[in-house]
Symmetry: C2
Subunit: 262 residues, 2 copies
Amino acid sequence: MSIARQGRQPIWQQIADELRAQVVDGTFSAGEQLPTEVELTERYGVARNTIRQAMTALVNEGLVVPRPPRGYFVRDRRPMFYRPQAEFREQPASPEMDRFLMEHSTEGRSPRQTIDVAIEAPPAEVRKRLNLAPDELVVVRKRTRYLDDEPFHTNDSYYRLNLVKDTEIMRPEDVARGVNQVLSEIGYPQTRALDEIYIRMPTPDEARRLDLPPGTPIACHICTGLTDEGVPVRVVVNVLPGDRHVIVYERTKSNNGSDEDR
Amino acid sequence: MSIARQGRQPIWQQIADELRAQVVDGTFSAGEQLPTEVELTERYGVARNTIRQAMTALVNEGLVVPRPPRGYFVRDRRPMFYRPQAEFREQPASPEMDRFLMEHSTEGRSPRQTIDVAIEAPPAEVRKRLNLAPDELVVVRKRTRYLDDEPFHTNDSYYRLNLVKDTEIMRPEDVARGVNQVLSEIGYPQTRALDEIYIRMPTPDEARRLDLPPGTPIACHICTGLTDEGVPVRVVVNVLPGDRHVIVYERTKSNNGSDEDR
DNA sequence: GAGTGGTCTAGACCACGTA
DNA sequence: ACGTGGTCTAGACCACTCG
C-alpha cells in the first residue's frame, strides 16, 4: 500500500494526521509503542526522511517521544496540581474543591530537592522587579525539585543582598521557620504578591536542567513578593514543565472575578 | 569556512547554538531577517538538509519564524496581560501594581470578536466539571477575539442547557447586563471559581483557528464557576497563545499564599 | 525570472541498548 | 549481533512572491 499527495496536503502531514488520530482515539494508548520508521516506510511506500518528518511533527506536538534505540512511544501526561496560593491558605475553600484537588495528589511518590545558595548579579527581569540599582547584588536560592528522582520543576528565589545578608536565608538548607517569618523579623513582611505566568518553549539550558523531552513547553511563573507599602522583598522564578503541572487558583467572591462573559 | 563534528555535538546543533546566541545577544534583533539557507550552507560547508535541521530546531523553540518566500525572521513577542481576576476587581489593589499592569496596555490596537452560539454534546472535560449526565446537552458560546484583525485568543463558555434555555445567553450577541447578572436572576449566582491552567502544544485545529506559527505553545485556562453551595454553573475554556499573553494574578494577605520558601 | 523556503528521494554511516 | 532512531549528503522539483 502506498500514499500519494492529493491537493495541498503534504504526504508527511497526511501520515502525521493518521497517526495522531490513532493516538487520540486510543488505537495507540499512553506508553504504547508506535510502528517503527522502517515499518512506516513500507506501509506508506515513501522515503524514510518523509516518515521522519511526520514523526518529528508529532514529537514537537508533545504527543510522542522517541526512545532510541527502542522506537517511538505515546507520551503520557500525569500533571500534578501546582497551587501558588497553597502556603497561606492551607485548606481549600470548600470540600468539593478539596476532593477535586486531592484527585491527583502526590500518591506516594518520593520528593527530593537540591538547594544551592549563591551571591550573584541578578538577571534583568529580577533586577527590574526588585527595583535594584544597576550594580546591586542579590542572594539567590536555586532549587531543583524531584519526584521519584525525576526532575519536577525549578524554583529560584532572589533577595536583596543587603536585606538578608545576616539571616539564615543564606544557608543552603530549608529554613525551618519559613522565609516569610524571617522577612517579618527583619522588618519586611510579605503581605502581597504579583504572579506573572509566561508560556514558552524552554531554553536549551532549561531543557537540560529539567530533562525535558522535545515538545515540552514550560510555564515560567514569576512571583514578586511585596510588603504592604509595595516594597518588593523577593522574586521567585519557577520553571514548570507543562507535562507535569496544572496551575490552580481558587477564587471566591471577595477576590473573585470570573472571566466575565457578556 | 566550514564546520566539523567535534565530540558528541551534532553539526546542526552547533549551528543552531551559534544562531541562537546571536539572536539572544542582539546580533539579530526582533523582526530582523536571518541569513538564507543557501548562505548558511556556504558559510558552514554542509548540505542544505543539515541547515534545515538547525533552522527547524530554532523554529520549534519559538525563536524564529519562516516566512516563505522571504526568509527566516527573528520572532518578536509582545505579550499582553491576561487577568482572570479582572472583572470583579476592576481596579488593581495598589498604584504600583496599576502602573505595572498598564505598561503593556492595549495601546490603541483595535479589538474585535466573533460569537457563535450552539447547542452541543459537551466535551468530556466540560461534562465532568459541570457534573452532567452522560447524554445531557449544553449551550456553548464560542468566541474568537482579535486585535488588529489578528486572532488573539479563544473563549468558549459552556452552560447547562436546561438552566439557560430561555435567557439571552442563547443569543449570539454580547449580554449587556453581563452573564453573571443573568445567572443571578435565574437563581444561580456565581460566587466562586476554580481556575486550572494547562500548558501544552496546540492541536492542529487550535493552531489553525488561532493562526499560530510553529513553536507556539498555549495555555488552556479552564474556569469553573460555582455557586456558594458548590454547584457548577458554567465552564469557560480559554485557549491563550503563549506569544501573546502573560497571565497575571494579584494576591493580598487574605487570599494570599506566596510560593512559600523554606 | 530569480530566489526563497517546502517537499521528497535514495542512499550512507553512526551510537546505543537489548537480546 | 541486530535493529532502532540520529545524522548527513547530494541531488530534484515545487509554489510562492517580489521586483
